[in-house]
Symmetry: D2
Subunit: 343 residues, 4 copies
């Protein structure tokens, strides 16, 4: 299926030109495989600029790989991971956490995609009971799967709660750049400096060909992560080509420009459609997603020309994602089409 304009996902976008350029530049002469090359060293150094010098960085292929490696670093099979029911690890990874890490997910009903310390607290019953899995990790998604963003205070509070209760905090940062752009802060300000223990840093949705990184902020915790990555089938031989993309993304604020642009496009779309009768925006638009409900015939009409996902068939809820490559013209046209379809 080919599409002219997609609001289906930020991973429907292509490669940002500066990222592709970085790949091309890295393609000169041979390089030692599996990460023992200068490009990888440079990319790791770049991560440490953003996240602090303790950042222990592992480049991987995709978000599922990053999440599973992060969780396996901090959980054994008899442990449990506490997360939102909407968490990508729970809803969209075909059981990879259960199968690879071996552990159970304890899920929280989180209507806005964000979990609270009260939610977490309720999942802690049964600790030390040999019949029950033992929670060791809390996983939050920033920005969340519903487009919402945890405030710095919220993350700090969750981290403190976790550390006070013998739990680690994992952040699924598939869209961490969008979250940081939304909050107007740096990347470390939304993660390492708030007490996050391990981060899945997302590149693919923000302009990379492909590439994610597991970033652990306490190297003592990640001393086996290098083996976990290999066993998780996530070790790239020509790693320089993943690394070089990250160096470009993390240089000259490209991460921010891309994410801020995507966020702005979502804001623009929301602004343009919020007053359409029959349409309701059902989540705060804090990153690059607009969740809306509208009449089913309107949805069907739109789907003839635009690609996007129905989020909840029963409630006629849809998800519209924007990306670094979404243009104002596309938003204009799409907003008009939505308005037209709702008539």
């Amino acid at each position: 299926m080919t599409v002219d304009t997609s609001f289906g996902s930020d991973n429907h976008a292509g490669i940002h030109p500066r990222i592709l350029e970085a790949i091309t530049e890295a393609n000169s002469g041979p390089a030692i495989a599996y990460g023992a090359d200068a490009h990888t060293a440079a990319a790791v150094a770049k991560f440490r600029e953003h996240f602090g010098k303790n950042a222990d960085v592992y480049f991987v292929f995709n978000g599922t790989g990053a999440n599973i490696i992060a969780l396996t670093t901090l959980a054994r099979p008899f442990n449990a991971v506490i997360c939102s029911e909407y968490a990508h690890i729970n809803a969209d990874e075909c059981g990879a956490p259960e199968n690879f890490c071996g552990c159970k997910l304890k899920t929280i009903h989180a209507p806005d995609g964000k979990i609270t310390i009260d939610d977490i607290s309720r999942q802690l019953q049964g600790r030390l009971d040999q019949h029950r899995v033992q929670p060791s990790v809390v996983s939050i998604t920033q920005a969340s799967e519903l487009g919402t963003v945890y405030s710095a205070a919220e993350v700090r509070e969750i981290a403190a709660f976790c550390h006070g209760h013998g739990l680690f905090l994992h952040m699924d940062g598939a869209r961490i750049c969008n979250a940081a752009a939304s909050l107007g802060t740096g990347l470390g300000d939304v993660s390492s400096r708030l007490g996050v223990d391990i981060l899945s840093f997302g590149g693919t949705k923000n302009g990379l060909l492909l590439g994610e990184a597991v970033v652990c902020f306490n190297p003592e915790l990640s001393k086996n992560t290098i083996f976990i990555r290999k066993q998780a089938m996530q070790l790239a031989s020509k790693m320089r080509f993943i690394a070089a993309q990250f160096t470009a993304l993390l240089s000259d604020d490209l991460w921010l420009q891309n994410a801020a642009h995507a966020n702005r496009m979502a804001q623009m779309l929301a602004e343009k459609i919020k007053s359409i009768p029959g349409l309701e925006i059902i989540q705060p638009v804090q990153s690059n997603a607009v969740f809306a409900s509208l009449p089913r015939p309107a949805i069907d009409k739109l789907l003839k020309k635009y690609f996007f996902y129905i989020w909840d068939e029963e409630k006629n809820e849809v998800r519209w994602m924007t990306s670094f490559s979404t243009t104002e013209e596309e938003i204009d046209r799409f907003a008009a089409a939505i308005r037209e379809s709702c008539k």
Copy 2:
């Protein structure tokens, strides 16, 4: 560590220009993620040109992922996979088969990297014994990890034996292009048409940025492979960029040019050094590897200027790999350096 010339591995090479061009061309406008795009459809069609219309194709990130997905398609945890002790799945994947597929590897001592039906036969004791793992798959590597190549007759014989004994045949084709180039036949002629059931098709070592494919020749067997791929963390969102590389590789004989060149470079190296006193070429040079033994001081001297791996420390055996990007000049200079080091 940076290197000017590497004989360490064919994955030390970069991206072939036509592959990079294909990526660049695929980078126009949005595309549906996860394989529902035109580039992926085109690449699948291209595979079917080579392997027949039944070929069921799954693009993945790396060779470990391809192997594990192929094995998990054909083995459950109580099964065993029979392979050479040198098999990449046994020696170089940090236990991924055991952990993800859950099954045991039953390994065969194979001094030249190739296994025989007698070897396999001896691993079949204990079938139906509830205390023993039950072999379900034989895995052969073509070209082998020792640079040798199974003849068509050898593969056909192994396939027939497997099918006569309730076993499936997997081919780890990380270097299948080198094998086909060596045998002077097409890709299907060394795999699907000989009775191989499932193939890990290697792209990365033959000029791709990254990308491998699981190709199953009996779609009935692979009806769950789509879920196994996702659970194995090997589903790319921007799949068009893997697919487009394969379309380029499999068009206009690029796969063959690259592989044949690499093979020729290995032949050339072997020719130039075989008469050096104190040096012995210890495996037939049938693909793009030269295995040799030479005095330890000579090895140490060479390692100061060239990157390669010592294969067996005790026996002073080394492995020299060539790639699509190795030049005749590099071979000349390296052969001279070897000769010099052995003086």
Copy 3:
């Protein structure tokens, strides 16, 4: 901790005298290990008397083992098992299904411990979506963890729904004897004859020293179960001593006497306490459990003399279990103590 009278669980009871006698009788001379003995053959034959001649029987150590072997027989890691949130497999097995079978549990909020086809139906979204686990098994517990019992019609309806939707039906029958006694029918009448595909048959809670059985009603499905049992660490060497217990249990209606007695004790307890002010019986008493809510001080007073579990700390709900060895005198005394504590 020692207890005089326990309402904590039916597994607090000891061994029924006729079971112990059967063990003693089986202890004469040597016997081939791992099930190739006459006692095992006799026990299998006895199961077939109850469940039909197709019953494929695997003796195991405990209920967790039986459940996991049953599920692994019918689910691969990318599959999901649909069950009640209270299901023993979900709540009380320390993540064994996720770790051993590899699959995810999709849980249903079931206030009375029983799930319906509407519940199941809602868990089937996302079939064929490669990002989602694929349900292959529905697991129901009979009698349920809340002491309720599915009617024959309910099980038949669930089985028909499952088979119409490509799902298998597993019954966790840790207390199947109590359910059959409650319904006044035979063991096959509550399982094999209603469309159940595979059953965990419980012996331990109904008078055995230890012993459960996986019973599959379609031998085609269980052709690998013998290997799964061994790999699941559930193969007993001196199997005759498990088998002999089952032969005794399934002979001369011992299974029924034990279960009916336990059920009657629960009924008797409920009768005696139902009118106590401040106490509420919160689940229908259909097997050998009484779930009640009563004031916290009353609970605390009782716990000084009797062992039982608080089911829900927040709601002051308790669970009282009876067994084959509970006596009317114990019920009398306990009922009086409850009444006293509620004053």
Copy 4:
């Protein structure tokens, strides 16, 4: 199949009368399940008498369960376990270590069933190499699967080597009582006091109905073993009946009487047959096994009246096991039958 006399395995024997008596005595009144009972506490205390007060004891059902729980306590999936190719964990557990623990076994060719520090040393190549599994445990079997016994000095040396190389030492003690009886020392003298870190203590083969124990000598290592046991499906509800058997076994030297008797029967058999022409005893008879080679027709003749296993079909090697219940008369008759068959 029924047998009058079996030399097939020590687990063909029944229950020792004093063990059965202990079960019967434990069957009085209710007891808290899952190990929180007085019988379990008493059995743990008894283990500590033998193994020292730090012994952390977990009762389980069978030897496979004990081994897998011990290994999972000390190895993560990216680790490897070094053992003899004949090790029960490698040869007879249907891949349970690979599937449950997730790790690879690195096996050693050990013609007499015993491994040496040279053997172990050769398995340590590739440490810190991310492509290779990382050995964390060495597992030795005492007495070995070939009936041989490690001397105290040998175990001490292996333990010291392990601890000097960042490895733990596991002892599969399915027949530890036979080993201790053979060496004329106590149980701790062959394990805890020699540097063994974790022990699978075997009861079933030495007179129990069923029951094994995982005994860890450093409680810091086993702090998660309670959860691993449950997740490994090895937690007995009516644990008192396993515990009571162990208390009996470890009291009044019953363990020693049983094991010494079995050993003596094997010695007696070996003495009586060693001079038979055409028969060769092929392993030192140090515990309760006699390994012999004899002409195939003689083997076939014997198999008509006696049950035992052919160990190596190609070499006409057989294994004859004795047990606590083997009688001198049985040995006399069997030795005569062997002599007759070899004529």
